[in-house]
Assembly symmetry: C2
Homo-oligomer: 248 residues x 2
DNA sequence: CGGTTTATTGATTCCCGTCAAGCAAGGTGG
DNA sequence: CCACCTTGCTTGACGGGAATCAATAAACCG
């Protein structure tokens, strides 16, 4: 009933990632298409890479926001502390996504905490370098705005979710969302490829670990999902989708 | 117990605002400080103005997103439909704020609906003109990003609110927030200067009109607030602030 | 002044959070 | 390889906060 984790495993490597990776990663980002090759080389020279181990903080809410990060490898969670000592999980990032400081307002601080969920490799650029690039590459500015717009939409989506759905719907929605973003085929079965505890799932959906567990047990009995310690797999996404539609 | 509305009244004027307003409004925006005078003139020439009556839609979620708006006068609400036919109020804008389409992705649509709460005057610029300005004014791009970052923070704040507070706390928080943003002194009393129904307040806080009414009745008995049809006034903001702190 | 919108209040139901106890999995070290 | 300990998951019992249903009243508008 509870198989071993089917998620992508990463050996406990050194906490840094290969230099080769840098240009490769950056060059493939949709973000940089349309950016002249020469400019790209210049830009990539400004990035530095760094590795992190699972559960290690990449930066914390409130500390000096000095860099803009690109996730090169692994998974990262963004979170923030809310009222009543509750931790709210804002989102999960996969390779290629940007996080950290987008704006460069002198003296500004990070608005949330970023923590590695797996072995992680990041590329990052300083505020100053970022600003310099924007100044000489309008296309870069537009792209940045598009990314921020996408992030804003995602956040708005979360507001909608929390503001209009029941716990069950939020869970269904969140699993479908995670599957769409992080799902992959593993031995012929769809798996959400990120190690999430039920407590983390609870803090994503504004509920409690107990409620998550109860609901997942139920879904497991119905054959809608499979799950184990820190992993979930969707067998009948259609069933979850149904839950989101008004019941009549 | 229920005095007449103490809010700012605007006569039912023509649905447009004076041409003089244009440069005046734009010139005073923090957004445009640091932008060369000459460029500012050029930019302002691209804006067109338009007026709206209370409850009139400025644009709707899903329709072609063609313009970026600046609110010149009046109050606007942004909303979106969530699950279970529930309407979620995302925010309230006051003069000087930007809304509409920030990004110019061809074929993109507005992500939310904007509705006038009062008589409203807007200035707006087309996607193309906006793009042209960004291309030749990096400072403008940075400013835009800062605005988007601020919007993202506000949205994140709302996620935190919905994800970690009780109904009572959300109401207290929301009133304090509205007061900070839209509060003014009227006959020696602080008033939240925007006509909001309890239903709208409910859709801002993810609760029901009944719960809002009950809580407000209670607060009124305690002398914490005064309220009437479509208006609220905070007498003891400190009391509301207390509600937000962990009860021990 | 009639009609519509908005606010109030009570009765009732139920979702889901809290508290509590026990179990399974995984990692570590002897 | 097993004992041990930590971390994560499961399940039950219980209570309360808040949604729902329903009816009335007050405020506003033409």
């Amino acid at each position: 009933m509870r198989p071993k984790t089917p998620l992508t495993q990463v050996g406990t490597q050194a906490e840094s990632c290969s230099l080769d990776l840098r240009l490769h990663i950056l060059g493939q980002l949709p973000f940089f298409t349309d950016i002249p090759k020469q400019e790209l080389l210049r830009i990539s020279a400004n990035f530095i890479e760094r590795g992190f181990s699972p559960s290690q903080a990449i930066y914390r809410e409130g500390s000096q926001a000095e860099r803009l990060f690109v996730l090169a490898d692994g998974k990262v969670k963004l979170l923030k502390f809310g009222a009543n000592n509750r931790e709210v999980l804002l989102g999960i990032l996969k390779p290629g996504e940007f996080f950290g400081n987008f704006t460069y307002i002198s003296g500004d601080t990070y608005q949330e905490t970023a923590i590695a969920l797996t072995q992680v490799c990041t590329l990052s650029i300083s505020n100053e370098d970022f600003r310099a690039i924007v100044d000489r590459t309008p296309e870069f500015a537009i792209r940045s705005m598009q990314i921020m717009a996408a992030r804003l939409n995602a956040s708005t989506q979360k507001v909608l979710q929390l503001g209009s759905m029941s716990v069950e719907q939020r869970l269904a929605f969140t699993l479908l969302d995670l599957d769409k973003k992080l799902g992959l085929e593993r031995a012929g079965v769809r798996v959400i490829d990120v190690p999430l505890t039920q407590e983390e799932l609870a803090s994503m959906t504004a509920t409690t670990p107990e409620s998550v567990s109860r609901w997942m047990s139920q879904m497991r009995k119905l054959g809608v999902i499979k799950s184990g310690r820190k992993w979930v797999s969707l067998l009948k996404p259609g069933y979850l989708q149904e839950l989101l539609n008004p019941p009549a």
